[in-house]
Subunit: 342 residues, 2 copies
DNA sequence: GTGAAAGCGCTAACAG
DNA sequence: CTGTTAGCGCTTTCAC
């Protein structure tokens, strides 16, 4: 039986059984075996048991590639972030992952390194995998990428920030966050406030926070000087503090673009014997745990990053399941955490 | 032309052009178009230009699913880690990602939540995607998982720890790392040394470090008391310190299972006015940046995590390219970083 | 509830 | 260097 003279192609290296073989072993047709596995309710219970037994006995592992080709859909979700080195994206990914995995979706992770051309390439690749949806960090894309996505009929979710989105959008208002912290510093009586960030062209959301910060200061008739560092991290924060003291010795507060910089600066200030906040106030953004463990505790803004991922995933899943989406856009907000560093 | 009376199936939702259509537009056969894209050197330069032009004009995006089915290989690399909440795994993933992506491989990320049954399910799924290789964190797997992998003929790379591996192995010796830190503490004159870890059954590599620690202490005729916390993080470190002071008030040093715990404890000690290391020495493991920014700097052990990922990926790629692998196992080692906390 | 036939879009194998 | 043919393993469609 089934003994062809020539078998022109048998690539499946090892003797991986196919669905057809499982079906034969169970005495049913391939399609019934398929249904037994994927739509159990469409198959007689006893038939299903026979199929499952055969699956077990033969050690069958479904070929998902073939399934995807035939059905023109994979259960892949493309997730594109600019960096894995930044906790912020990791936490969003965590939220996405737990929610999607629980529904049987598999994440396909891409890293653009803050390069929109790279993003475009990743999107192309991911479309080629018949992804069920795309989640990407941010609203800025190359024109080619926009064109490609405009012709794509699956859910597109842009996370992190809020604005004019391609489709779905879950995020927070970074400009407003910048304003919020600037207002806090003004309330604390600071009049000479410096903003220190890193690579604001790439980390343009930090740039938006600076814009908000600047707006508030200028409305109060104050200058909004900026120091832009060429990389981030704790070391950079310490270096930023040093530069600030050198070039802006008269500032009474520094608004850092994120908690890594702010924490690095705060710990460096301790080493230098600068008393925070009396001699210098320090503020950050993100609400990382470390900021709440150092003394003085860091004044910062906490964003619900994991929740952002969960919400984004839930909304995408709703759409995939054909449920009505009430709003295309969700503002997850933020929270000013006032520590003793300001 | 090519106008069939009935088109039984056209799933590709939008009008995504196929390779065949590109080929027609370029006046070549499908296989030539395929070669022009995937094996440019096998095709006449002018033919290739025509194909590329047609690709551009039609906005063709290759269907990778179909390609994988036909060739029985995807360029997927399955990567399985127990958690995304732990920096350690993220850094390894980063190393893997940059190296694999540079060679055109796509990572398929799975998270087991420290559950070997979940790992088994992930492995099954990933095998179904015709992954080119599997990278997994750790050497411990369920029996079902081992059986499944034993019949798989693609490269398997186990990272993080060293030991009897399924195939390739890149990691470090955690028991030795535990010994190393214990010896350091003994050298510093400590005789009452406590080990504090979290969920050692899940984080069994921390358990191995404790085993090494204990071995050294017992050889010196000392006890090796242990406090096991039910979760990790900075908060837990602070709580661990509190528990230590309460139940082991006479200890002169605490060896924490990782830097998160150690940092949380160290910062908490500062708040309590406990002078480190004079009244209490504190040591960690991982060599996270934060430990080198706090005062006193944390004594810890640094492991080359990103390098571990890069090396693991390189070795897998060598194998995939058919090159000879010189050694199946690589010890990436570790480095004792002596701060002022001990 | 089950099956037969057709084909998803691409590439391997050969032939020229 | 290019083309023809025959599938990869599965699911859709439609019939029973």
């Amino acid at each position: 039986m089934s003994n062809e003279a020539h078998s022109p192609r048998r690539r499946r290296g090892s003797e991986q059984p196919t669905l057809k073989e499982v079906a034969e072993a169970a005495g049913v047709s391939a399609i019934t075996a398929s249904r037994a596995l994927n739509h159990p309710d469409q198959v007689n219970e006893r038939t299903r048991a026979r199929v499952l037994e055969a699956v077990e006995r033969l050690g069958y592992v479904p070929n998902l590639v073939a399934g995807s080709l035939a059905s023109a859909r994979s259960r892949f979700i493309a997730v594109i972030v600019p960096s894995l080195a930044n906790t912020v994206f990791i936490e969003v990914i965590q939220g996405l992952q737990e929610t999607f995995e629980a529904q049987g979706y598999q994440i396909l992770l891409g890293n653009t390194d803050y390069d929109t051309e790279r993003e475009y390439q990743l999107v192309r690749t991911f479309l080629g995998w018949s992804c069920s949806a795309l989640v990407t960090a941010g609203l800025r894309h190359s024109q080619a990428c926009r064109t490609l996505l405009a012709n794509w009929d699956k859910p597109i979710m842009e996370v992190m920030e809020l604005g004019e989105a391609l489709d779905l959008n879950v995020g927070l208002d970074h400009t407003e966050a910048g304003r919020c912290m600037a207002r806090h510093l003004l309330e604390r009586g600071h009049r000479r406030v410096l903003f220190v960030g890193a690579r604001l062209a790439s980390d343009y959301r930090a740039g938006m926070r600076y814009a908000g910060h600047r707006e508030v200061l200028e409305q109060a008739g104050l200058a909004a000087p900026l120091i832009e560092l060429d990389h981030g991290g704790l070391d950079a924060g310490a270096a930023g503090l040093a530069r600030a003291l050198e070039n802006h010795g008269d500032v009474s507060a520094i608004h850092f673009a994120n908690d890594d910089l702010a924490t690095g600066a705060l710990l460096h200030a301790q080493r230098l014997g600068i008393r925070v906040p009396h001699e210098l106030a320090i503020a950050g953004f993100n609400g990382l745990p470390i900021g709440q463990h150092i003394t003085p505790r860091l004044t910062t803004i906490r964003s619900p990053r994991q929740h952002m991922g969960q919400l984004a995933a839930s909304e995408v899943i709703r759409r995939l399941e054909g449920k009505r989406i009430q709003r295309l856009q969700h503002d997850v907000g933020f929270e000013l955490l006032i520590g003793e560093s300001t």
